[in-house]
């Protein structure tokens, strides 16, 4: 069957088999390799994308069910060469190590801050508990979200919300 979607603002169509997931179509039919495939059971969040504004695991969505949907992947977040504030803060805060979980986490974090710009650090931890990371221990991730929250708030002129406090300290 032919499935047609709007992916990152562009109309895209693909010939797909009935068993194919949205993740498979994005990666193998449309060449969008950002979303990853770490568990294929909806446990790890590495394939997180937005479908009509909702955060989903693309591995659990049948491609056929995405007919007519607006899909946003990690490739669609940076605009005209500028990193999205969440991407910028992940780089600056050291929230990236091997990077396999990163695309999913970037999409999930951008979605979270859009839904709840004042999310506390604990809210962040709860909201991102569906995205597994094996490298970072999540500390840098929480710091990166705090930094992105501040950057986003500063961009639109409002006061920067205050988090629960620093998530760690280093002394030497």
């Amino acid at each position: 069957m032919i499935v047609t979607m709007e992916v990152n603002g562009e109309p895209r169509s693909a010939e797909v088999a009935g068993w194919e997931s949205l993740l498979w179509v994005l990666r193998e039919r449309l060449g969008l390799l950002g979303a990853k495939d770490a568990c294929l059971q909806g446990e790890c969040g590495s394939c997180s994308v937005l479908v009509d504004g909702d955060l989903v695991c693309a591995c659990l969505v049948m491609a056929a069910d995405a007919e007519g949907a607006q899909v946003t992947t990690v490739e669609g977040l940076a605009s005209s060469g500028d990193l999205h504030p969440v991407q910028r803060s992940f780089v600056d805060q050291g929230a990236v190590q091997c990077g396999y979980c990163t695309p999913g986490l970037i999409v999930a974090t951008a979605h979270l801050l859009e839904q709840d710009p004042d999310a506390s650090d604990t809210d962040v931890r709860e909201a991102l508990a569906g995205n597994l990371c094996r490298c970072t221990g999540y500390g840098a991730l929480v710091r990166a979200v705090a930094a992105a929250r501040t950057a986003t708030a500063t961009d639109d002129g409002s006061a920067a919300p205050v988090g629960d406090g620093a998530d760690r300290e280093v002394r030497s």
Binding site: A38, G94, Y100, L128, C135, R168
Partner: protein
């Protein structure tokens, strides 16, 4: 050696600064190409037929139905291996595909190549494998009794007749832990048209893969180019081959590129795990708490093939006592052959299991003596001038055992004021735990581990630094697995050259010699020293060429005069230097396990604070503090990332992560059933970096990335013991360990 040329204040992004990873932007935008993202024109997809039994005789393999499927190009078995039919790092005892027998659950029996992934998967399922099931050997005592021993490492030190006044005996069990890198095994093999092959696969050491692949594929080393790979994590799991030989066989047979990607369940059986262990310990101390003798017997479950078990058991044995003085030590370490899944490297490499047992023993000893656990550890803390308790090696280099213990004890404890937010309670949003039922506990543990390879191994790392008109390129075959070596090598080159425009190029095996393994916490020091020496030589030659006295991004200077730009300096050709760095030689152990077996050591101390729901047996780790020996902090932000990430893995092993084995069958081979710590499980981390510069690491740096995992596990368990009074002699601690009636009788 130490770097001396660093102009750390002026070189942008040099050592000591928290510069971001060079690959971070590609990773946050989704454009970074991981192994599983690779594609070649005309490629086929591979799949693996596995035998889902722990032990069996293979009666028949029939690929007729599979080969008849449209789109299937080949089915290969062990009979089709073109060269040496076995692989393995130390001993080649692992058949490329099962040969006559299946020795572990999920062992590959045949491989398929087809036009697309789904056809390959269905064809693999269609291969008929008739098996006669056999009893699996899965019990460690039985394996020892039957003499199924990969290696026995004995340590005999001191006077066997000296005894202490206080005796503590205990038996401890650690389960197998899966490294669980987020990226599953994936690879691509592309025939070169002249009989050779370019091969990308999950690896931590391309040159050790090359040796095995060339032998198995019946090619010369020059015909196989093991390519630098883009890994989604490793943690030890990529030290041994997984799918590389298989895709190489298919690609060469069909003269077509072949790609293969494991799903998560395949990944669980497709890479090595941390050895499960059974350990018996006897500690004897005088009444002041000074260790008089330690006797231990350590059994590690190696699975059916040797892989790295010979080296893992060495670490378990030599670090059996921990970072403490003790003159009378007897240890027998055994790596055993079983039909459990293959074990191998995982962060800490055999040092973690005895760390759990020995630190549990130290807490019991402190309790028996009425001593504070910190005080007991300080009274025995191993310092420079002491001898390693097992091998007798004199500790010469800086080893801040005392400092890491004191620093972790001095970090303020978290507030214990009631917080009714369920996300801060054991059980979380399950709303299972009333705050007034929560019991808090605090526990400590200290760890020690070797850096680099040991026991006389001639360990080396090659690097080449090339200065061009637009900056310097560092060439290395060292593998970046996500840990950030690429950043540290960039920083070292910048500081040594004085030039900020540095790029690290990862070469394949045909372009540069071995950099050794990305393991044993070794690349910061090994690849790092090779880069430092090469970059230093390049700078010296650049200055000598024009009689300059400084080099930076603008070019060569004498005083305030710019003599030449980098482009002018290199107009006749780039300035380059190749270095093959070797660390100092070490001994092989004598018959009693004695000798200078190790190059260097690293220590860390953890303090865990936990909240426990004693009714349901639920645990929340509130805070972990760590004092970490780092030599010199090359990149504080990355160091913290290694510390926090390592702690999460140690926490996982303490309370969540267990490869559940049932007669050799893994009962939880998925992320649904094998629980990894999430963002909500990870604790608040407080870290103190102890900087006592290494005498030989680049700019004083030490490798450090295994220590955060090691003693986190026993610290968390010690804290749960403090909260519950339970003995807790196995990890991970299960809820039933906390709520079932204790063996001594009675319930809470």
């Amino acid at each position: 050696m130490s770097g001396t040329l660093a102009d750390r204040a002026t070189v942008h992004g040099g050592v000591g600064t928290s510069v971001p990873r060079p690959d971070a932007t590609a990773k946050v935008t989704g454009s970074f190409e991981f192994l599983g993202d690779m594609h070649a024109d005309g490629m086929l997809w591979g799949a693996t037929r596995r035998a889902w039994v722990a032990h069996a005789r293979i009666l028949r393999i029939d690929a007729t139905a599979a080969l008849a499927m449209p789109g299937v190009h080949a089915v290969l078995t062990q009979d089709d291996v073109p060269g040496h039919r076995y692989q393995g790092q130390a001993v080649t005892d692992q058949p490329v595909l099962a040969e006559g027998r299946v020795r572990y659950w999920g062992e590959p029996v045949a491989i398929v190549a087809a036009d697309d992934a789904e056809t390959a998967r269905l064809a693999a399922e269609a291969i008929v494998v008739d098996l006669e099931e056999l009893d699996p050997l899965v019990d460690l005592e039985a394996a020892l009794e039957h003499g199924e021993i990969f290696r026995h490492v004995p340590v005999r030190r001191g006077n066997p007749d000296l005894h202490g006044e206080v005796v503590i005996e205990g038996t401890y069990v650690t389960s197998s832990q899966d490294p669980a890198p987020l990226g599953t095994e994936a690879g691509l093999a592309i025939p070169d048209g002249t009989g050779g092959v370019d091969l990308w696969g999950p690896t931590q050491w391309v040159h050790i893969d090359l040796e095995q692949l060339a032998a198995c594929l019946a090619l010369t080393p020059a015909q196989v180019r093991v390519q630098p790979c883009r890994l989604g994590g490793a943690f030890g799991s990529r030290e041994d081959l997984s799918l590389q030989t298989h895709i190489g066989m298919l690609a060469l047979r069909l003269d077509r590129p072949v790609k293969m990607v494991y799903d998560r369940t395949e990944s669980f059986v497709g890479h090595v795990k941390r050895h499960g262990s059974l350990m018996h310990y006897r500690h004897e101390a005088d009444r002041h708490g000074r260790l008089v003798r330690v006797d231990a017997r350590i059994l590690l479950d190696g699975g059916p093939y040797q892989l790295t078990s010979n080296a893992v058991i060495a670490n378990s044995t030599y670090f059996a006592v921990g970072p403490y003085r003790c003159d009378n030590v007897t240890v027998d370490g055994y790596a055993l052959r079983t039909n459990n899944p293959p074990s191998g490297a995982m962060r800490g490499f055999g040092s973690n299991q005895p760390c759990f047992a020995a630190e549990s023993q130290m807490d019991r000893l402190a309790d028996a003596l009425g001593l504070d656990p910190i005080e007991l550890r300080l009274r025995n803390a191993l310092q420079p001038g002491d001898q390693l308790p097992t091998t007798g090696q004199l500790i010469e280099a800086p080893l801040p055992t005392d400092e890491v213990i004191r620093s972790v004890a001095s970090i303020p404890l978290p507030d214990d004021e009631p917080n009714e937010d369920p996300r801060h309670l054991p059980g979380g949003t399950g709303l299972t735990t009333p705050r007034d039922r929560v019991v808090r506990g605090i526990g400590y543990a200290v760890g020690i581990k070797n850096l680099e390879f040991s026991e006389g191994f001639d360990d080396n790392a090659e690097a080449r630094v090339v200065l061009h008109g637009d900056g310097a390129v560092v060439h290395t075959a060292a593998v970046e697995v996500g840990q950030g070596m690429v950043t540290v090598l960039t920083q070292i080159a910048r500081s040594a050259l004085g030039i900020s425009k540095v790029h690290v190029a990862f070469d394949h095996t045909g372009q540069i010699g071995s950099a050794g393994s990305t393991s044993a916490s070794r690349q910061t020091q090994m690849a790092g020293n090779a880069v430092l020496q090469a970059a230093t030589a390049v700078r010296e030659r650049a200055l000598a060429q024009l009689g300059g006295d400084d080099l930076d991004d603008d070019g060569v200077w004498r005083g305030d005069t710019l003599l030449a730009s980098l482009a002018e300096l290199t107009a006749e050709g780039p300035i380059e230097q190749h270095v093959d760095y070797h660390h100092r030689a070490t001994d092989q152990p004598d018959a009693d396990g004695q000798g200078d077996l190790h190059v260097d050591f690293c220590v860390a101390a953890h303090r865990a604070v936990v909240d426990v729901d004693p009714d349901l047996g639920l645990v929340r780790v509130v805070q972990i503090a760590i004092g970490q020996d780092v030599g010199r902090a090359m990149n504080p932000q990355q160091l913290l990332g290694q510390i926090e990430g390592g702690i999460a893995q140690g926490l996982g092993h303490a309370v969540m992560e267990e490869v559940v084995l049932d007669h050799g069958v893994i009962r939880n081979p998925s992320f649904t059933d094998y629980l990894l710590p999430t963002c909500l499980d990870a604790p608040h981390v407080e870290a103190v970096l102890i900087e006592q510069p290494s005498t030989w690491g680049p700019f004083g740096a030490k490798g450090m990335a295994e220590l955060p995992t090691m003693s986190a596990t026993p610290a968390v368990v010690a804290a749960i013991r403090a909260a519950t009074g339970r003995p807790l002699t196995r990890v991970p601690v299960r809820p039933e360990d906390l709520v079932a009636p204790a063996l001594t009788g009675g319930t809470r």
